[in-house]
Subunit: 351 residues, 2 copies
């Protein structure tokens, strides 16, 4: 398997390196051959190639089976015009590779509930997946333009775009608790009415899955008041951006959350939910868990290596249970270790 | 002063009646003359006039200085086409009267922190106001249409629309802690870039106010992880819808939250943030606090009666401190009373 590694900016290089080490260990232990090729994205690519998604990176991705991404962005590039900003690299690569499914699991880790802003009894046992449409909607719709006196963005969805993401959500729900919450603003938006119609149509093909429609404002409340009530949430790009970030902080384990951006042929980009954290970059103290769990998602979604993915997840859980952690989740009775040492522990546990 | 009362649906009539009683007490105590005229909106109007915002209601509002609204919506009208749904009445009245400023204060009530989903140390002392643009953006932009295979909504903002709402936020910040957080998605949306530019321009007129820009996804996280860091949040219509509902649950006091929808000449519509709660309608057990505090906002924003507004707020606080409450916020050592009895207590405290 050929894997593209795009370390990106800030703590990106450290955490992806940890994930690569873990993948190498998986290859050794289970007899696979993983070949890693490095490519630039974000600020790193702006510095090296003058743009956030260079053709070289596209070519490397095209020749690979999956990609691991660290994080992009930092104060260094904050004043750039928008086509020369690190985030543009993310938007462009999603669109270029048609990665329309963004999958973000949020699962409470018992030992971390103390650092959740929510009461433990509210955050306890949260276990949901947010499925966000990633290549359409307000992010990409045309016209998208400025005049001196006004500006416009366009929220457009085709039936086919909605069908394919909704199908992904139904399929994921089948492997879990079998419930899909479709989030829209059907009382105001035409795109949401179409969205709701498509969900109603597609659900007939998944009679085993329970479906609930929820307005986005209600969902923003329920994620806090009753997060355990969700299994799979499926929603459009912008709502998904907001709700998945909201969901990412409810269990107190932002440093642990992986994500996958996929299409249907197996290719996907896997990256931590957290950002580039420029303030702690290069200090070997970032939490590599999210990157390592992103690698596990790659094993599962791109390579179909379910046993290997589960082994990585268990290894991470084991290391956390042994009381090891990085500084971001330090707490009573825990042993704070470095990024590299954490990866080494995971590898030891794996082996 | 002529006040339109639009009870609406579900618990709307009960809670507005409580608020009207309190306003009558204010008139007696401070020697004002308030004249109340009732009008239909939402499902109530659909039943009586066949549409959610009848011309009769518009005429009554036009002849008044301010309006009090209960709540709209309920299962009875859920299957209607969108132009015949209760919420349409809200959208239409906002647009018709150009009520571009939606003001939603969220303040932690110490005795209610126990019912917050957030840890008490996170929710404690939260005191913010969300200023939401209410008459433009995705809700109203054209084209907004359906074809068999796709749908489109349009997010459009003019410079003038942004200027006026941003000015409102700055002015409110001046009467508070002097900080404005402007929320946008400037790394993706053209409208957000214009928004950010206008904020940068207008802030020069308010050198005493501190300004912070925040992406909407970050704001959705910060509202949970550090809600105390906010003073005034200003944002566009759709982001404001999502964030203000998210914010409404963080202190555990949704039944207590008022809102104002205003323009610059003093006219405004005041309504509780909570919904029509059809399940408990007509049982004289709804919490009238949000409606009563909405009436207090009317006294302040539409009539400039600051002393009277403060007196109502203090009376409500007093009743809560005395341990009285409605069922929704029942707890140890509290005395649960009816909607009407709660209003009576507030009036006694006022007098
Ligand atoms: C960087 C930004 C454009 C991006 C988005 O909004 O999609 C990010 O917030 C994310 O969620 O991956
Ligand atoms: C009923 C609905 C159209 C409305 C909105 O989204 O504006 C409501 O959610 C609100 O926030 O007042």
């Amino acid at each position: 398997k050929r894997i593209t590694v795009m370390p990106g900016d800030g703590i990106g290089p450290e955490v992806t390196e940890a994930a690569v080490e873990v993948l190498r260990a998986v290859a050794r232990r289970y007899g696979h051959a993983f070949q890693f090729t490095y490519a630039a994205i974000g600020g790193d690519a702006i510095d090296q190639y003058g743009k956030p998604l260079p053709d070289e990176t596209i070519a490397v991705c095209e020749a690979s089976d999956a990609a691991l991404l660290g994080a992009v962005g930092g104060p260094k590039w904050d004043q750039q015009p928008s086509h020369l900003r690190p985030e543009r690299g993310l938007l462009d690569i999603r669109k270029k590779f048609d990665l329309f499914t963004n999958i973000r699991p949020v699962k409470a880790v018992p030992s971390l509930l103390g650092s959740s802003p929510l009461k433990e009894e509210v955050a306890r046992e949260v276990d949901m997946v947010i499925v966000r449409e990633l290549t359409s909607g307000l992010y990409f719709g045309e016209p998208k333009q400025r005049s001196p006196k006004s500006a416009v963005d366009t929220l457009v969805y085709t039936r086919a775009e909605i069908e394919r993401i909704v199908d992904q959500a139904f399929q994921i729900a089948r492997t879990r608790k079998g419930k899909v919450t479709s989030v829209d603003k059907a009382n105001v938006l035409e795109t949401s009415k179409l969205w709701r119609e498509v969900v109603e149509e597609r659900m007939t093909a998944y009679p085993d899955v329970e479906v609930e429609h929820m307005l986005v404002d209600t969902a923003a409340m329920k994620l806090i008041t009753n997060p355990r009530s969700f299994d799979v949430i499926v929603t459009e790009n912008m709502f998904g951006d907001i709700l998945s970030d909201e969901a990412s902080v409810i269990t107190g384990s932002l440093g642990m959350l992986p994500s996958a951006s996929t299409r249907t042929d197996g290719f996907g980009i896997y990256e931590p939910v957290h950002g580039s954290a420029p303030d702690i970059a290069g200090q070997n103290k970032a939490n590599p868990t999210a990157a390592i769990l992103s690698a596990a998602m790659m094993l599962k979604y791109s390579f179909g290596l379910h046993t290997e993915a589960a082994a990585v997840e268990e290894a991470v859980a084991g290391v956390l249970e042994d009381g090891y952690c990085t500084g971001d989740i330090a707490g009573e009775g825990k042993r704070v270790i470095s990024t590299g040492a954490f990866a080494a522990q995971v590898i030891e546990e794996l082996e």
